[in-house]
Amino acid sequence: MEMVKYTPFFLLCIILIVSLVVGMLTRRQDSGGYGIQVRSIGHASIGAAIASNWMSAASFLGIAGVFFLNGYFAFAYILGWTGGYVLLLVLMGSQLRRFGKYTAPDFVEARYESPVARVFSAVITIVISVIYCVAQYKGLGLIFAWMFGIDYTQALVFGILITLVYLLIAGALRAARNQQVHYLILILSFVIPLMLIAKKLGYNWLVPQFSYGSALKDLPAQISNDYLFPWTFGSPYEWIALCFTLMVGTAGLPHVLSRFYTVPNNRDARWGVVWGLFFIGLLYWSAPAFGAFAQNWLVRSGTVLDPEAARAIADIIVIKVAEWVGLNEIFVSILAIGGVMAAISTITGLLVSGAGAISYDIYYRLVNPNANERHLLLVAKVSTLLLAGLVLVIAVNPPGLIAQITAVAFALAGNTLFPVFLLGIWWDRTNKYGAIAGMTVGTIVTFAPLLVGHLFPMLRAILPPTSSALIGAPLVILTMIFVSRFTPPPAEHVRRFLVDKVHSP
């Protein structure tokens, strides 16, 4: 059994307490409710909030892991998760804000005037939250297992307890998250150790984002070629399908869309995206370097990992490589804490939004319309516990790498919510029948390869579970157009609202 690492644990406690205190101060400065900042802040500040909201364990831990295993193929994740912001900005950002509905179910009900479509979209939102949470918990479990020298399952339970306690205390203190401070903690805890790793290995430490290329070139020819050649670890179709899926998934992800409403006006939201992409880019320019330096160290030290062992440590390779090169314990701890903070902040956000969808969109709208606020709060708390329990059950046997699990959530968003938003905004003729049919087809396309893919290998090849939206999203859009064409059009006031409000300056 491994030793408990006290330094990261104490640092983690300090960081969590500091973030709660900063959160309380942030709450006092804000005049708006629901933890949404409404005071006027600069575009860079909005961008930092977008980046902070975006950075999860998938970005902090997952990308480096995929690069460590699959080299160039990891760029499909990086470009998918950044290029999606372009799609979101140009196709939907301003229009959704003018529409004025803050959640996916609210938008669906207002646009399509259908309680069924609303509940359907709420269920999809909850499923996306659960899948996303599984990936985050895997990261949390691996880091706590490393930190305390305990079994992964025990670490997972500990991680769930920590997040629930953090959520409880933050709720009791009404502490809002200071997004800018959070971003600063994450990016510094990622980049500074990376620079030190580059220095230890003798590469340019000022810009490790560039010098990792030299680390790859220094590998033996066969390994170097595998990492540099684009199609060693996946075909062009797989690369393009994954990249496209993550792009449309990003543009359809509920918690990404909600960022457009947490700033004072439309223009600020648009310009915030430019800064947000830059801040996210800082992380994504750096992440592959961890994987490259890890491979470089393995070759130098003569360590040979079999594929299974490499896969087992891939998701915490950012921490492992810092340990391998002999970085000071403080800096290794800082990396681990960055990963924990990224996972915890994402999990708490997802659990709260998932529980909100259950209590309001399902319980209040379907089961008990007479429920009062106190009753709904109780339902939300119970839902949070149930969701955490469900996530625990799935995360005990994680079905893939952190980035791969997260990609399935993006595939679901890209196959369902993205087409519903897109056509809802850009084609007045889309109606509730089309939306329901589209979400049904999108759900089938997303889960069929996972559920029956082993029976039909061809299906899995055409629709890889992480990359199904290349075919799925266009198919859903065609389904929505076809069904809407043969069913009655939406009400006139909806179409007039689109013309007068959504598509006017």
């Binding site: 290329g213 199609w231 995206v273 880019g281 006031h493 007039r496």
Partner: protein
């Protein structure tokens, strides 16, 4: 959102919202800007992998033939570094044009 469907007959004439057949005026100009941005986005993002897939299938030959930037193959640098910058530029470009369009449309109104 307004609930009343009762509108004068003259206003019922054109409620069309269609990305491929945008209404004249603000929407048509906005869609033109979107198309330009989307084409620039798609060409650069998917153009390189499609070009690589069509022209390079042998790892050793590929790595011997392609140009290098910062010690790594150009396509590698293009995907890992440049395209993120390109996305930032596209968002910047789009915002500048939309700001201009919004201001000029509001003045006209």
């Amino acid at each position: 959102m307004p609930q009343a469907d009762e509108q004068p007959a003259s206003r019922r004439e054109d409620l069309r919202v269609n990305f491929f057949r945008p209404r004249a005026g603000f929407m048509r100009k906005e869609v033109t800007i979107i198309w330009i941005t989307l084409i620039a986005w798609a060409t650069m993002t998917f153009g390189m992998p499609i070009h690589l897939a069509l022209t390079h299938t042998d790892p050793a030959a590929t790595l011997a033939e392609v140009p290098y930037i910062f010690g790594i193959p150009a396509y590698f640098w293009f995907s890992g570094q440049f395209l993120i910058l390109w996305f930032i530029f596209l968002c910047f470009f789009f915002n500048v044009l939309i700001d201009w369009l919004t201001t000029s449309s509001r003045k006209r109104r």
